[in-house]
């Protein structure tokens, strides 16, 4: 009898708050957070952490630092969400914060040779690590080729000028529209298209010998 009652109660309760948050769009989740629902912030983190990490990592080329910067993005979101203009897209705002932080990081790195040295050293150590995330069922030469190609692609992206790379990653990796990219990078639409065209051409030129 008690089981029947419990089952009935569960069916009446409906979806949990977490499930309801998952079903909401970004704007509704932001509203829920501002309304005092702290779990809404976790939902935003879940939605954006991987995307932002990839974006920042491809921009600055340092995984550890990218994680730190993504954490900083979320801290800023947490602190300033009440100031966010809700007539605009939340994702654009978040990417703008991430883009600015990545830009600052690159600027600081170029000014500080020690940081640059540490990054080079860390990347060198990374290369010495055993393959951890590769498909172990594949043949060793395939694994090598895959890793080699990934490194080449990452190096080719890193060779692009900073403002071209930013637009390139936002478009090709994050699938942002030209208008969104213009807003995130604070450029006009014509500049975005021109930078994207140049970035694609440069990247294709660099990578062509390896993929032909």
């Amino acid at each position: 009898m008690a089981d029947i009652v419990r089952k009935h109660v569960v069916s009446v309760e409906g979806p949990t708050i977490r499930e309801r948050l998952q079903a909401m769009d970004d704007s509704a989740v932001v509203t829920a957070f501002l309304g005092g629902e702290e779990r809404a912030f976790s939902e935003l983190v879940t939605r954006y952490q991987t995307r932002l990490l990839n974006f920042v990592y491809r921009t600055i080329g340092d995984r550890e630092k990218a994680e730190d910067l993504v954490q900083e993005v979320f801290i800023r979101v947490y602190r300033h969400l009440h100031r966010f203009d809700r007539s605009k897209k939340f994702s654009t705002w978040v990417y703008t914060i991430a883009s600015n932080l990545a830009k600052n990081e690159l600027r600081n790195r170029s000014r500080n040779p020690l940081v640059l040295f540490q990054t080079v050293q860390k990347n060198f150590q990374d290369e010495d690590r055993p393959l951890q995330f590769e498909d172990t069922t594949a043949r060793p030469d395939d694994m090598y080729r895959k890793r080699h190609l990934r490194e080449i692609v990452e190096e080719s992206v890193a060779k692009l000028p900073e403002h071209h790379r930013n637009v390139f990653i936002l478009r090709e990796l994050e699938g942002k529209s030209y208008e969104e990219i213009a807003e995130i990078t604070e450029c006009n639409l014509g500049t975005v298209k021109s930078r994207l065209n140049r970035a694609r051409n440069s990247f294709a030129e660099i990578i062509a010998p390896y993929v032909d």
Partner: protein, 178 residues
């Protein structure tokens, strides 16, 4: 369409955002121009490689670290709010004290201050009107007495009262002319 125009529109062509007619023109150009066809293939292949880069995932302790920082942020916020409230309270208390001290000081000063000059109401002085009989300057009796060598007193009287009469006649004249 020439190759230059093709290159200018290639971004939109790859992203499939061209209008129908432009799209057909681009496709026709690729079919005709081997160089542009090669360029198009090279770009598309490069983008394919890039888009298929394996995604990286946040490390295992990412969420834990973030939660810790958020908690830190919350406690900072609470502390900052308390400090702000305390600061506002301190400012309000200081202002109230200053006003109170000012009031007390003013009251004490008013009580102990040296007597000041007495302020009296203004005095309006008025000149009583002289009790003089109206005379006319051209009285025939006086004129006659002076010229005829008669007793001098009317002339002396006239001379003594001359300034007053003169002023009186001036006043009369003024009041007539108004």
């Amino acid at each position: 369409m020439d190759c230059r125009e093709f290159c200018e529109q290639h971004v939109a062509y790859v992203d499939d955002t061209l209008a129908g007619i432009e799209l057909v023109r681009m496709q026709r150009h690729i079919a005709e121009c081997e160089s542009c066809a090669k360029h198009d293939a090279k770009i598309r292949r490069a983008l394919l490689v890039f888009r298929n880069l394996p995604s990286i995932e946040p490390s295992a302790d990412f969420s834990r670290r973030l939660e810790a920082r958020i908690r830190e942020c919350q406690s900072d916020h609470i502390l900052a709010t308390a400090q702000r409230n305390l600061r506002y309270g301190a400012v309000a208390a200081t202002m109230a004290s200053v006003i109170m001290l000012g009031y007390i000081g003013t009251t004490l000063y008013q009580r102990t201050a040296a007597p000041q000059d007495l302020m009296m109401p203004p005095v309006v002085a008025s000149i009583p009107e002289p009790d003089l009989a109206p005379i006319t300057t051209s009285t025939p009796a006086i004129v006659t007495s002076v010229s005829a060598g008669l007793s001098i007193w009317p002339a002396a009287l006239f001379a003594e009262q001359a300034p007053v009469r003169f002023a009186h006649s001036k006043l009369e004249l003024t009041s007539y002319t108004r």
